[in-house]
Symmetry: C2
Subunit: 209 residues, 2 copies
């Protein structure tokens, strides 16, 4: 059986640019992650591909999956469910591949309860002014909506301490490089690799008896 892969949980406040950084990681040539496709009950948009952008499903099916413990995490947002199907994640980890989850802060904390040895990375804005600019920059939302998002983002930033790592998104390429380094380094953590050396350790223990 191959060594189990790492579950990488990549999160951060609304507007920080999680999706952009994640896309850049997956576009880069040497990434070795499997992207965990989320499931949602919201309507499929014309440019979206089922099974690539999301798994699109019904409320009934989603709620059934919640009840039967088939969701690693989920949240309801603006009347729709979003979540991570557990089966795909487990199968991929068992194949020795790292799974990359890009999810909201609340979902990440649900995952932490279930998979405490995941690698939890928080993407943070350089400062709140920059975050407000990014949230306003979309240009499509009213001041009230932006203020509401800022309030939510502030609450989310306070949860940074629950994560293992914090990476600042000052520049996408730099943030990408940081995330990759963190994952590479995590592969050398003793509790993850000690089984590789178990044979050597067993021999060592026997021989010195």
């Amino acid at each position: 059986m191959p060594e189990r892969g790492l579950l990488i949980v990549f999160s951060g406040p609304s507007g920080v640019g999680k999706g952009t950084v994640r896309a850049a990681i997956f576009e880069s040539s040497q990434h070795q992650f499997e992207y965990s496709v989320s499931m949602t009950t919201r309507a499929q948009r014309p440019d979206e591909v089922d099974g690539k952008d999301y798994f699109f499903t019904t409320r009934e099916d989603f709620e059934e999956k919640i009840k039967s413990g088939q969701m690693l995490e989920y949240a309801e947002y603006v009347g729709n469910y979003y979540g991570t199907p557990l089966e795909y994640v487990n199968q991929t980890l068992d194949q020795g591949k790292d799974v990359f989850l890009e999810i909201e802060v609340q979902g990440a904390l649900q995952v932490k309860e279930k998979v405490p040895d995941g690698v939890f990375i928080f993407l943070t804005p350089p400062d709140l002014d920059e975050l407000r600019e990014r949230l306003s920059g979309r240009g499509t939302d009213s001041l009230d909506v932006i203020n509401e998002r800022m309030a939510k983002a502030r609450e989310e930033i306070k949860l940074m301490s629950e994560y293992d790592y914090a990476v600042v998104n000052d520049e996408v390429s730099l943030a990408v490089a940081r995330v990759k380094k963190i994952v590479e380094a995590e592969h050398f953590r003793v509790d993850r690799v000690i089984s590789r050396y178990q044979t050597m350790l067993d021999v060592a223990t026997q021989t010195v008896k």
Copy 2:
């Protein structure tokens, strides 16, 4: 005051090649470590420079430093003391620089008791046959001496689990790259960097009251 540097404790069994990997790290152009020069009571060799290879001192002075708590770690080996003066390490960390200690396994465990938030990296041989070859390769020692070193190395390998990371020394350049990645990633650990974001978090807490 600058953010405090990281204390990197690099260790591994006798013969694994700690010194070679450490030298390669310090020869590489982008390293950002300060090397902690050890203190010893053994005689200075003709090619060694005091204050560069070691701080050479007397047994009396060394024992006085142990008594007064001025050694971060020390060991006696073949009748001589070897250890790490605490003052230099603390001053360098306070300047925001990372300090790199290359020490024996027993010394590393002493440091772990005193500085639990250090980064403890264990350099391991690919397997014990390879280690024996390296220990024999020096060509200057009897079989008895080699067997004794192997027995000691086996005991040391069993202590791998006390470390944070394990890096295999299959090829020096690869081992160097792994160690550097680990240190870079450690700089993003939340408990180390959260103070950077404290201002943002304080503002966040105040504003949402």
